[in-house]
Every structure is written in C-alpha cells, then in structure tokens.
C-alpha cells in the first residue's frame, strides 16, 4: 500500500468523522464533489449530512464553525486555498482566537489551509501565510512536512480544544508518498531532527524540509554534515530542540518559503540569539522567498522560493564563514 500526503489528509478526516460524531466538514465544494483537491473524496457519501458545501463566504464559514464549536461540535473548515483565508481572517483572529481567553469556553475548530507554491499557480494560489496566523495569540499553527505527520497532526488538530490553523502544502500533495499510516507520532509542539549532522543546523518546516534534506545530501558529498530540524508546528515553536541542535553544530540557517519580513525564520533567529548567543560560531542566517508576490511563470517561481540549490549555497557560505 502506498499513500500520498493528500490521501493521508483525506484518511485523517475519514478517521475523525468515524470516531467522533462531533466532527463535521464545511467548505466550498467539499460535499458530493469531494473538494477542489479531492481531500474530501467520497466522504460526503460515506458520512451523509456531515460533509457540507458552503457558499463562497470565508468569513461566514469560520463564524459558523465558531458557533458550532460553542455548541460542542468539532468542525473542520476547508479553505479552498490558504490565500482565500484572508477573507475569513477577521473571524479567525478576532473571534476564534480570542474566545477561550475572553470566556473560558474553548474553541475547537480546525481550519485547513492548502498553502504554498506550485509551478504555475501565481500570486493568489501560492501564498505561505502561517506567520500571520502565528502572530496572533490564541491559535495553534501546524505545518506538517511528511505524509505521516499530515495524517497524525490533522487527527491531533481535530482532537485539540483550540483553534488550529492546519497548513497543508500543495506541493507535497501528490508526489510525497508513504507505505502506511503511522500508529503513533510525535505530539504537536515537538520538532523533529529529520537528519542528524555536526556542522550546521538548518531549521525549516513544511515543503522546505525536503529542499533542506536534498541540500544536505549534496553537501554531504562535499564533506559537510548538515542537521535538519523540521519544526512541524510553528506555533507553539519548539525552541528547546532548535537550541539543542545549535549547541551541537554552532551554526544556524533558517529556511522558509514565506516572505522575508518578520515571520518564522526571524522568530527562530531571535530566540536562538536570545537564549543561545554563546552557542553560535557565526552570525545566524536565514533564507526566504523574495519580497514580491509569488510569480506565475516556472522560471520566475523557481527563483522566487528557496530551493535545494539555494539552501546549499547559503549553507556553504555559512560553513566557510
């Protein structure tokens, strides 16, 4: 048996629907059609009345989820693309994210954001906006990089009593495969060492984990051993694992597909310099997408985001410094 990242997301939702009657899915085209990416394929047929089409109203979709959560449900909201979640931004950051703090009533909703760039998708179907959600208190922001994590973390997201922004990378949907679904997993909030190394730490998440691993393989041929830390969850952020890795390697490169101003990579560098300045043998570096909207043409797109080649190049500069 072989399973893609996208199929793992579909299976996690089937599992959640099967095990918990409080779970329902609400989003555009998620019903009989099975979703724009088929992440809810056949679920409406298998779970009648629990996988429901919504109007094109991201604000009202999230508002409805918050009301349902108050009433004890565990809604999963599918945004067709992460980019469109900005239309529901107000309900996410002001309603869902503040409810528990204001009232002590938890808000267990999961908002699925198909995010990140794929060739040809252009400025409005490619965005990485995890940092914007992570900025607001009251939200958990997850960024699985593997098929196993996509499955296990989505299940945990639905089980958590808090609003979860589940960033599932569209670039990983089809080509990333696993042999079977995991029976156990690291809990939310823990980072993973995806590859061990002694010379430099690359901290990254989601699709960039795979670019970093490829860069590490390339550098291994040149005699450098790169440690790759997969954050898995950008909020909460597992600072301990990152700092421990930097303690071993002395060098830090943070890689993110999102825009360079602020964001996750800046946050990591801030934390590592604050908590472990003495561990660093060289100024910490970061590599992000360029500060423009995400371009459409493959030539431009490939140069806009970090790739294995640009990660390796940045790592070499840091290793030689």
């Amino acid at each position: 048996m072989s399973l893609t990242y996208l199929e793992a997301i579909r299976e996690a939702q089937a599992h959640a629907l099967r095990d918990d009657p409080r779970v329902f899915i609400y989003g555009q085209d998620v019903g009989a059609f099975g979703g724009a990416f088929k992440a809810t394929k056949n679920l409406a047929q298998e779970y009648p009345g629990r996988v429901l089409d919504s109007p094109i109203s991201e604000d009202a979709m999230v508002g409805l989820a918050v009301g349902a959560a108050i009433e004890g449900m565990r809604p999963i909201i599918e945004m067709q693309f992460a980019d469109f979640s900005t239309v529901g931004f107000n309900q996410i950051v002001n309603q869902a994210a503040t409810l528990f703090w204001r009232t002590n009533v938890p808000c267990p909703i999961t908002v699925r954001l198909p995010f990140g760039g794929t060739s040809g998708s252009g400025p409005f179907h490619s965005q990485c906006i995890e940092a914007i959600y992570a900025h607001y208190p009251g939200l958990i922001v997850l960024t699985p990089a593997t098929v196993e994590d996509a499955y296990a973390m989505l299940l945990e997201a639905v089980a958590l009593d808090d609003p979860v922004i589940f960033c599932e990378h569209k670039f990983l949907y089809y080509h990333l495969k696993a042999d079977e679904l995991p029976s156990e997993a690291l809990p939310v909030g823990k980072a993973r060492i995806s590859r061990e190394g002694r010379d430099l730490t690359v901290v990254t998440y989601s699709a960039m984990v795979h670019e970093a691993l490829e860069a590490a393989r390339e550098l291994s041929g040149e005699g450098w051993e790169i440690e790759v830390v997969d954050l898995r969850s950008v909020k909460p952020l597992d600072t301990d694992t990152v700092v421990a890795s930097v303690a071993r390697t002395g060098k830090l490169l943070c890689v993110g597909e999102s825009w360079p101003w602020g964001g996750v990579t800046a946050e990591i560098i801030s934390r590592v310099t604050g908590e472990g300045f003495g561990l660093l043998d060289a100024p910490p570096q970061r590599l992000n997408a360029k500060d423009t909207p995400v371009p459409y043409h493959p030539n431009l797109w490939a140069a806009h985001r970090p790739t294995a080649r640009s990660v390796a190049s940045a790592a070499r500069n840091l290793l030689r410094s």
Binding site: D59, L64, A68, E71, N94, G138, I140, D162
Partner: protein
C-alpha cells in the same frame, strides 16, 4: 424572556399582554437607569475605557430579549442593555464587566458591552460589526445537526453593520441553510457620525431581505407595543420552521456613539420628528393610559431599580480587581501548548 413572564401568571390574553408590557417596561427602565449610572461613573472617572448607551433603543432591544426562551441564542450589540437583561443577564454581571471585577464573566479581560456567557447561549460580541451573525448561525447549525429542534437565535446590529461583508455573508448563509435566525437591524440613523445616506442607497433596509430569500418586517422602534408584536411574531415564525427573519426598526439614537461623543452632528429636525420620540416615555404613557400601571407604581418601581443598581455598584466596588500576578496569561485551552510560560 417572555415565557418566564407568562409562565409565572397563566391568565387571559389581555392580562398576558399587560404582564408582558409591564415586564418589558421594567427591563427598559432598568436598562435606562443602569445606563445612566454607567454614564455617571464614566464622568466620575470610575470606568476604564468607553461607555456605550442604548438610549432610544430600549423598546426594540427588550422585545428581542423578552421574545426569546431559555435555550435560545442571543448575540446583542452595544445598545442592547434592555435585551440583555430581559434575556437573563444580571445587573451584577453588567456592572462587574464595566468595572472590571475579577468575579464578572469577563474577569477584566474584556469590558463594557463586550460581555456574555456563551455556554448559556448569550454570546459576547466582538467589535467587528456583523461578525456575530454567522456565529449565531453556527450554534443553530450545530443544533440542527444534533437534532435539537425548537430553539432560535437572534442577532442585533445597527444600520452601519448592514454595509459589511460579514452581514451579507451571514444573512446569505442563514438563507441557504434556512436557519431559525432572527436578525434585528436598529436603523438609528447614525453609525457613529455617519448619516444613512452615506451608508446605503436603497429606499429601505428591508429591501435587502429579498436578495437573501429572507422574510422581513419593518417596525416603529419607538413603539414598545409594535416592537413586541413584530419581533415576537418573527421569533415565532423562525421557531415554527419559517427560516431566517429580518426585522428593520426605525428609531433615533438618543445619545452619542459613546459617552465621549458630544453627538452634535445629529440633524436637529430628527429630534423633533416621530423618530426622536423617547421609547421609554412612550411606553410609560401607554401603560398609564391603559391603567396597566398607576403613576405611584412607576415611581416605586424607579426607586426599587435605583436601589438595586446602587447596591450592585457598591458590591462590585468592593470586589477584587484582576491581579496581573495571578492572571495565567494563557491564550489557549491546551495548557502545555501555550507559548512563553513555564509549563512548557
């Protein structure tokens, strides 16, 4: 809540109408005098942040609160003191929120009109207008999912909120899902300082209902009897399965946006127009004319209410303020996943 009033005294229709009017008037008076107290405390510097009054909107607001039953859902807005009290909020919880008592429902984390108890169907508003409507939809959606029938949800907004995307999305959503939502629009002629001709271009806000496949009624918001009837019927229709209901009330905000607002932009002609009538005075005159209350009873009632409010304020002023060293500073329910605290 109407049911509470009626259950207490099963009598003839006429007597029931009298009971409802008297009960509604009492909540209106309580809301007005409570608002007056908050305004006084604000001027005395005893309240942090703003004070937002419902002066002129009590008849409409109380009609919503009194038409709902226990188990229904209510999302009031800033000028709904009367509706909140009629829905079951205590004077104590209102005062605790305005004075920031740690014993209040918001524990000093939010204040003034931003209060509620979601677990009791009383939803605490966020400031973003129109945003509460889809949350009410969500509670009703979940009830239908759980096969709970017979409950409804009401949300209150002003005419300003009808210009938001959230209003459109939520009313359309309620129409598509045929939810038992009652959406009350108080057209109080000004959204802060903006007059209606800068807010909408249709003849009446009731025109909007057709676009959403929603039933609509308009009502004179200064007339308690009319409000009780129109809002009560809309609630009953929604409860019977008639789908979402829009009620548009015409009235005038008889105060500033908040107590910081001198309110000098209101067209003086509006004060003299029928919209400018004080609904509390209109209701009181009606009760006296019907001989449903004696003038002496009104005076006694007023004194009773003032005493209740003063006692609540005195009690809350002795209650502990929130303590930043005791505050947990947790923004999420899953304790160990909160950032920046020692449990991690």
């Amino acid at each position: 809540m109407l049911q509470t009033v009626l259950d207490a005294s099963p009598r003839t229709d006429a007597a029931a109408a009298q009971d409802v009017h008297v009960a509604a008037y009492r909540f209106m008076l309580l809301a007005r005098l409570l608002d007056d107290k908050f305004a006084a405390l604000y001027r005395a510097g005893k309240i942090h942040g703003g004070v937002f009054l419902g002066r002129g909107q009590e008849a409409l607001s109380v009609s919503v609160g009194i038409s709902l039953k226990k188990g229904d859902v209510f999302a009031p807005l800033i000028r709904d003191a009367a509706g909140r009290l009629a829905f079951g909020e205590t004077v104590l919880d209102a005062v605790r929120t305005y004075l920031g008592s740690s014993l209040g429902p918001m524990r000093g984390r939010d204040g003034n009109v931003h209060r509620g108890k979601p677990q009791e169907g009383y939803l605490p508003m966020v400031s973003h207008l129109g945003a509460m409507i889809s949350v009410v939809n969500g509670v009703l959606f979940a009830r239908r999912y759980k096969k709970i029938s017979g409950t409804v949800g009401a949300a209150c907004v002003g005419e300003g909120a009808t210009s938001t995307g959230a209003f459109h999305e939520a009313l359309n959503q309620a129409g598509v899902e045929k939810l038992p939502l009652i959406l009350i629009v108080a057209n109080n002629q000004y959204a802060y300082s903006t007059p209606t001709h800068f807010q909408f271009a249709c003849d009446s806000l009731a025109d909007k209902a057709a676009g959403y496949g929603v039933e609509v009624q308009t009502v004179d918001g200064t007339d308690l009897g009319a409000c009780l009837k129109v809002v009560g019927e809309a609630v009953a229709r929604a409860r019977r399965g008639g789908g979402p209901q829009l009620v548009v009330a015409e009235l005038l905000r008889l105060c500033g946006h908040g107590e910081h607002d001198p309110n000098d932009y209101i067209d003086p002609k509006l004060w003299e127009s029928p919209l400018g009538r004080d609904c509390l005075k209109v209701a009181e005159e009606y009760l006296l004319r019907q001989k449903w209350m004696a003038p002496s009873r009104v005076a006694i009632l007023r004194n009773e209410i003032i005493r209740e409010i003063e006692e609540a304020v005195a009690q809350v002023q002795r209650e502990p303020a929130p303590d930043p060293f005791v505050e947990q500073w947790h923004s999420i329910a899953t304790g160990h996943l909160n950032e920046g605290n020692e449990e991690r």
